[in-house]
Structures are given as C-alpha cells and as structure tokens.
Symmetry: C2
Subunit: 147 residues, 2 copies
DNA sequence: CACCAACTATTAGTTTACTAATAAAATTTG
DNA sequence: CAAATTTTATTAGTAAACTAATAGTTGGTG
C-alpha cells in the first residue's frame, strides 16, 4: 500500500470492529440474563471442549496471559461455573472442569454467541472468508516473522 | 458463510491480530525510550491534528468513552505532554493542547508508528486494502444496522 | 544426591474499557 | 424568566491485559 492519507485506518478499523463485536455480544448476554463476560465465555468454551485442561494450556489456546487466566478462572470459580481440581502427578497444575451450573450456562450462552457470529458475518461469502483469513493472517505473520 | 467447524475463527482472528499489532507497537515505543502507551499515542495524535479539541470530541473520533479519555488525558497531563485550558465561552469544556514536550514526543513517536504500520501491511496491495475495508466495514455495519 | 533450570500458577501494579451515577454548566421549553 | 433537559467532564467500581517478581514443584545434570 502506498502512503495515502488513510494509512492510519487499518489499525483503527480492526480495533473498532472487534470492540463492536464484543459490545454486541456482551449486550445480548446481559439481555438474556446470563452472568458472563465475553472473555469468561471464551474460557468456558475452551474448558467445555477440553475438559481437564490446565490454566497454562488455556492461556496458550486463548492467547491470554497466565495471570489473566488466573483471574478469570477465579471469577468463574466464585460464580460456581468452573472447578479447579489438583492434577494427578503434578502438584503445580490444576485440571479445570465445568460444574453442572457451568454446563448449563454454557448451553444457554452458546446459541447467543452463534447468533452474534451470524449477524456479524451477514451475507459475506465463503470466498470472503478466505480473503479475510488471508489478510488477517498476513498482518499477523508480518509481526511474527520479524522478531 | 455456512456452518463450518472454524466458524468461531473470525472473532478470534480479529482479536489476536489487533493484540499483535498493539504489542508490537508498544514494544517499539518502549525500545525507543518513549514513555507512551498505544492509547496515549492515539490521543496525542488526534490532539496534534486538531489542537484545542475537547475531550468529548476526542472520545468521539477515537471511539473511546468519555471516562477513558478523562483518565488518559490525566496521565498525559501528569507527564507534561498535554495541557488542559478552560474553553472560552463554555466553562464545562477544556481545550486540549500539546506542550512543547508533547510535540517532541509526538515527533519521536510518529516514525515508529509509521514503521509498524508498514511492517504490518507488508506487501499487501491497494486492492487488498479495499478488500480489507469492505470486509471490516461490512462486519461493523452488520452490528450498527440491527441496533 | 544436590544443584540448576524450567514450569505452573499467583500476586502486585499500571493501564484501558465499560457502566452507572453525579456535578456543574448550558440550552431548550413552557 | 423558571424549570426541565442536555451536555461536558468526572468519580467509582468491576473486568481484562500486560509486565515483573515470586512461591512452589518438577526434571535434568554434574
């Protein structure tokens, strides 16, 4: 891209778009009376798909930091949605599980998240999705490559 | 887009990409010894382009909330980079200006931000940029339309 | 075996985002 | 003009991201 006056725009567009998505999802969760933040949903989603996972493993797959995961798991535990169990064979680790209440919350939240995904994607096509992935991966990798 | 197993991916890709960009920029600013966060940079960039702007106006153009702007301006004022002056004719408002130190910091940070933009965009083309804008605007507007 | 390095999770401190409530000032309306 | 509404900015509280430091545990190596 040559140096146009709008060269600032791509950071900004990504930033405002992700904020818009997060806010829309949070609003729907609130309206549905589901006591979950977006990031809390991200964690229970991953725990549900990989019961017994450790916190560091969760941090890795969600691209969150270990301290952030610690705090979100604290909140989820306090709400009674997630349970920490000592890992057999490694006393440093916890294995994470959804409680019955956690499962039920997950089940209630899932269709709302799916709906927001649908709304956001609108009538964009599969070809659009491939473009999207190509562009995002390209930007991402441009930073991974150099250092 | 039909319901593939990767349908979760687009939220996630946007989120991880913006994090990557922010972290890369923050790292370069730190390495250059510039005492600015990314969001602080966003504000002084806008103040520099529109000297005397108000906080609410800044909030609008940056898509930040008024309380967030209040706090970031507090920090910038504490660092001596920005000055609040009472607005003539409206005692609720402040007009915001960069101090000499603020100008100098802005001048030092600018090329670093430009470099990060260049690195992130890599060898993507002008046509890619148009695709990018189309996709992002589409997702964004899909949420704006239906409330 | 003892030491050293790596790993897992936590704590602490700073920054930003969002909501809700509030103070003060300006504008509109009856 | 007086009252109600709107606007501008702030404060307070909760949540999340990042860094740095630390405790406790594990595994490897001399």
């Amino acid at each position: 891209m040559t140096h146009h006056s709008d060269q600032r725009a791509y950071f900004f567009k990504i930033d405002t778009t992700i904020k818009k998505i997060r806010n829309a999802l949070q609003k729907r969760l609130n309206e549905a009376g589901i006591d979950l933040t977006v990031d809390q949903w991200v964690l229970i989603d991953h725990i549900s798909r990989d019961e017994g996972t450790s916190q560091n493993s969760l941090a890795e797959v969600t691209y969150k930091d270990p301290p952030t995961v610690t705090r979100i798991v604290d909140l989820l535990e306090k709400k009674g949605l997630v349970e920490r169990r000592m890992a057999a064979g490694d006393r440093r680790k916890f294995n994470l599980f959804l409680t019955a209440k956690g499962e039920s919350t997950y089940t209630k939240a899932f269709p709302i998240v799916a709906e927001i995904r649908r709304i956001g994607w609108g009538d964009l096509s599969e070809a659009d999705y491939q473009q999207f992935v190509r562009l995002m991966d390209s930007i991402y990798n441009n930073f991974s490559d150099k250092e």
